[in-house]
Structures are given as structure tokens and as C-alpha cells.
Amino acid sequence: MRFVLIPVLAACALLGQSGAPDTDSADEQQASDLNVNSRYTIESINFVDQREYKLSTSALEEIRRLIGAKVSTEALDSLAQRIRAELRAHEVTFKIARGEAPEAVRVLIHVDRAAGVVDASVPKLIYNSLQGFSGVGEVAATAGPNALTVRMLRDSDTLIERYSGIQARYDRLELAGGRIRLGFEFDAYEDQYDASTLAAIGSASRPSSLGAGAYGSRLNYEPSATFVLAEPLTFTTGLSFEQLNSIPTAARPVSANAVINTLRYHQRWLDAGGNKQELDAGYSLRAATTALASGLKYTRHLAQARYLYSRDAQSVEVNLVAGAIFGQAPLFERFALGDSVMLLGWNKYNLDPVGGNRLAYASVKYGYHIMRVFYDAGSVWDQASPAAVKQSVGVGVSGGLGVFEKGAFLLAVAFPLRQGQVTPVVIAGMNF
């Protein structure tokens, strides 16, 4: 369904029905939208298939503007054309459905990529003056309900290990009317370590909760299914067969085969006063079990919540993350802080060179136009050790990048709060 604007009928005479009404401004306003649903307020705009499409920041801003406004077929049609152009889709259509609040409606966007699209992009590029560069290059091909994504990546930021390699993922979209999505992912990484990590692994004080030593590479085979339980709540379940190849190649590989489950909720609200709110919450559980012939046995819990409130040019964002690992988990599962997202400004290897099995983190970010100031606090520790809370503050700018505006950029300087010294850390990146 594509919305069509039917403008005011021009003055005409229809075989004996002469004359047309004079249109004043009120009439024009009335005539601008002949859809009875134009009296309702848009409560949310979401994609039907729950995919995370990459849209420009200006398109996202257009969506934000529409949320909270009255339904306008002209505006929605314009947005559809824009999304269609950006995604190079065959067709983009809308549905309007009842909202949760009275007199409010949800707009559901359906992207038809039946014609087949191949898209190349750089979904992530980060420079951290402590960790160096991390980046991801992606080629995504879509044909009808089938999507194939291949990523080349180098990541020295998110995990304790530095890994580079390839991710290949196939998704079968839109099963059961878009309520089920099946996927299969294959990952192959080469791993490298900071000297402090290797030293900690080899030392007598190596944590007993560390499930394997350093490995030179790892392979992952991961089938999964995502169910839309009740929009916008989704549940993903699957299996992860991870093989860790030890650095001495003669040694036997270690397996970390796990059941994976993720519950995710993502919702946006906008009231008549222009107050915008967004909540993104998730809980994931990875349970490696001998029932899957796993050499390591552990469970990993991670809960995350992000709340954003904005009005006009100002915004406040709160992030909360908590995690716990029980059993002996390998390095890639262990928690780290002090990267380019959490506890900015700290060096993760100084905090814990082998990561921890407990994590608690909170941050508050205030934004005014493109300016950002933030405060981070968190701790990563091992169950047997006391938690030490670390804090940091920072300032930065964030926004679009003209023709590269598909991803927001961030340039920030973060200061870890500790006694005796102030060492600023510079973080620059795209598509955080």
C-alpha cells in the first residue's frame, strides 16, 4: 500500500454540475488529507519485519518528527519514497494500526526488496587512542525474503581479545507473516592478545573462572530463530557451536557450545507536548552445556537497558548494563569495560587484563544539539574479588556526516576519574 495524496480538486464543470468551491486556507488544510485517520496521532513508526535497516540520520530525524504528529498521507508518502531510495528497495509501503493509547496509531513500514539488492557499507569504524582502530566492512545482498550478509572485521575494542576475520550470515525473513525469522551465522576469527592478557593468563593469579587459555583462532556456527512475541517484544533462540583453536596448534581445540536466548524490547513514544522517549531493553542468556558436547560449561547472563528522553534540541540518555557468568567461560565471553562504548577513557587491560565474570555499568549522557557530555561509572570484577567502581567523564560532538550521514559520527574526549593523574583518551568513530 502506498499512500497517495489527493489534492484539492481543481475548479471544474462536470456536465451540468458547474462550479467548484472556493478554497480558503482552512479548506485547503482540510483537503490536504482526506484520510479519516488523519485526526489520529502517530504513536510509533516501525518496520514490519523487525529488521534493523540502515537509514540516514536525516531520515531517522524525519521519522522522529512524524512520531507525535497527526497522520499525514503526504508526509508518510514522502518518507516512503525516501526510505525506498535509501534502501534501494523495490517498494516501501505503510500500514496504519491502532496504537496503545486512545486516538493514537502505529505506522508499520513494509520494505519489499523483491527485486534484489546488493549493498556495501561500513557499519562501524572506531579509533580509540588506547586501543587503536576497529572497523567493519559489510556487503549485504537481499533477494525477496532472503538476506545474505558478509562482514570483514577487525575489532580491538569490544572484547579482551583482539580479533579479525569474517562473519557470514544468512537470514530467511518474513516467515509466518513476518513473525518468525530464521538465521544461520558462520564466524571465523584470528585472535591476538595484549601482553598484559597473556601475562595474566600465564601467571599464578590467573582467575579460576577462566575457562580456556589464549586461543589463536575460533570458529562459530550459529543457527537461530527470532520470534515476534508481541510487537515490539522479540525472542531469539538458537545454538552456538564455538571452536577455540589453541595457540600451540598441536593442542586439541576446546569447544564452547551453547544454547543462546535473547529477549529484546524496543519502543518509542512521543506525546503531544513534543516529549520523545525511547526504551531499548534486552536480556541474553548463553548456556554452554555438555549436552551439546561442549568442553566448557558455563552460563552467561547479560541484561541491558537504554532510555532516551529528548525534547527539542536537548536529550538525556541513561544506559544500564549488568552481567554475570557462572562456571568457566572462555575469554570471548568474559566482560570488559574501558572500550569505546562503556566506561570511556579507561584502559580495559588496566581494569582487568582477562576480563571479569561480573559486570555492572551505568552512564548518563546529556545532549544539546550536537554537543554531548557524559558520565560513566562501572565495575568489572571476578566473583571472588571485591568490585572496584571506576568513573569517567567526557565531552564530544555527535551528528550526521553529510553524504555519509547514514551513520552518526562521534568525536569525544574522555577523562578517567582517578587520583594523581589525568590522561585524556580520544575516541572517534562512525555508526556507534
Binding site: M1, F3, V4, I6, L15, G16, A20, P21, V36
Partner: protein
């Protein structure tokens, strides 16, 4: 050709009972309780919250069915209130003329009530009324700039409907103006 013909027939719905003409206040109107055009693809679009335009052409022929002596053209914009689950219709030529909170059959009847030909233009003798309705495809280029006008509607009805376009055609039995109920 055979395929095109079968698609054409498949897209066209013809009421079996036929139009019933009425005369009131110097205007000839028609009714047909058996005619339902809020169906199928158009109805699905309406339930999805879209506004769906329908083009109507009412013609009256005299002497023979091909001798058209009067014609009226209208575009009606139908939409479906997702909260009240009722239909709304606006006559696009004059958007002050609208029907609100209607059932599907009432919305269909409202459209028929709001297209007419003046009886003063009709000759005495045997007459036939013919009504044609077409749904407007969303991809169809609608009148640009100043909006839909008479010329556009005439052009629309001067060419055959496309296979993918829903359309309906219904005729009256022969009648005489003087024999119609006032």
C-alpha cells in the same frame, strides 16, 4: 490475448440485479443494493489505514445504449477509521461533502447517492443508465499540481481499465423518465 481477456473479465464485477434509477429534485440518481465495491484488494488497503480513491462514471443513453446523452464523473476518497472501524467517504470535487462513520454497504450507497445527472438534460423516450466504477491504483499517476479535474476523469474512463485494476460495471433496464418515482 486470451490471457488478457480472462484477466479483464476476472477484474470486472457486474451486478446481476442492475441499477435502479430514481428521480428527485430534478436529478437522476441510481441505486443497486447488490453492488459492492469495497472488497478484495481495495478493502485490504482500507483496513490497513490507507485512503483509497474510486472513480465513478454515470452515463445515461437514449434511443440506444451507445447514444450517451448525459454523463457525470466523480472521484470519491474512501478511508477506514482504524479505531472506530467505520468507513468515511469524501467527494473529492467538493470535499465539504462527506459521509462519516458508515458501514461498508452504507459507504457504497453514499457514493451512489452523490453522483447524479440533471434530468433537464435528458430527452423523453427510452433511456438506459450505466455506472462504471474503478479503483485508483496507488502507482497510477494522479493529477499533478492542481489536482484531479474533469479532463483527467474523462481520460481515465476513455481507456480500458488495466487488468490489475478493480472495476465494476452495471446497467439499468430500459426506463422512461416519466415512469420513475419522484
Amino acid at each position: 490475448m486470451a490471457l488478457l481477456l480472462s484477466m479483464e473479465l476476472g477484474a470486472m464485477s457486474v451486478s446481476t440485479q442492475g441499477l435502479v434509477p430514481h428521480q428527485a429534485s430534478g436529478e437522476l440518481r441510481v441505486t443497486d443494493p447488490a453492488l459492492h465495491f469495497l472488497t478484495g484488494k481495495s478493502l485490504a488497503l482500507l483496513h490497513d489505514g490507507a485512503a483509497v480513491p474510486f472513480d465513478f462514471q454515470l452515463t445515461v443513453a437514449s434511443g440506444s445504449k451507445t447514444n450517451v446523452v448525459a454523463r457525470s464523473l466523480e472521484r470519491f476518497m474512501v478511508s477506514y477509521d482504524v479505531w472506530e472501524e467505520k468507513f468515511s467517504v469524501v467527494r473529492v470535487r467538493d470535499f465539504r461533502k462527506s459521509g462519516m462513520r458508515l458501514s461498508a454497504s452504507s459507504a457504497e450507497a453514499w457514493c451512489l447517492e452523490n453522483i447524479f445527472v440533471p434530468t433537464g438534460a435528458l430527452p423523453a423516450g427510452q433511456l438506459w443508465a450505466h455506472l462504471e466504477i474503478r479503483s485508483v491504483e496507488s502507482k497510477e499517476p494522479l493529477a499533478a499540481g492542481s489536482g484531479i479535474n474533469l479532463a483527467t476523469l474523462i481520460e481515465i474512463f476513455s481507456r480500458p481499465s488495466r487488468p490489475e485494476q478493480d472495476h465494476w460495471s452495471v446497467e439499468s433496464a430500459p426506463f422512461q423518465l416519466v415512469s420513475l418515482k419522484q
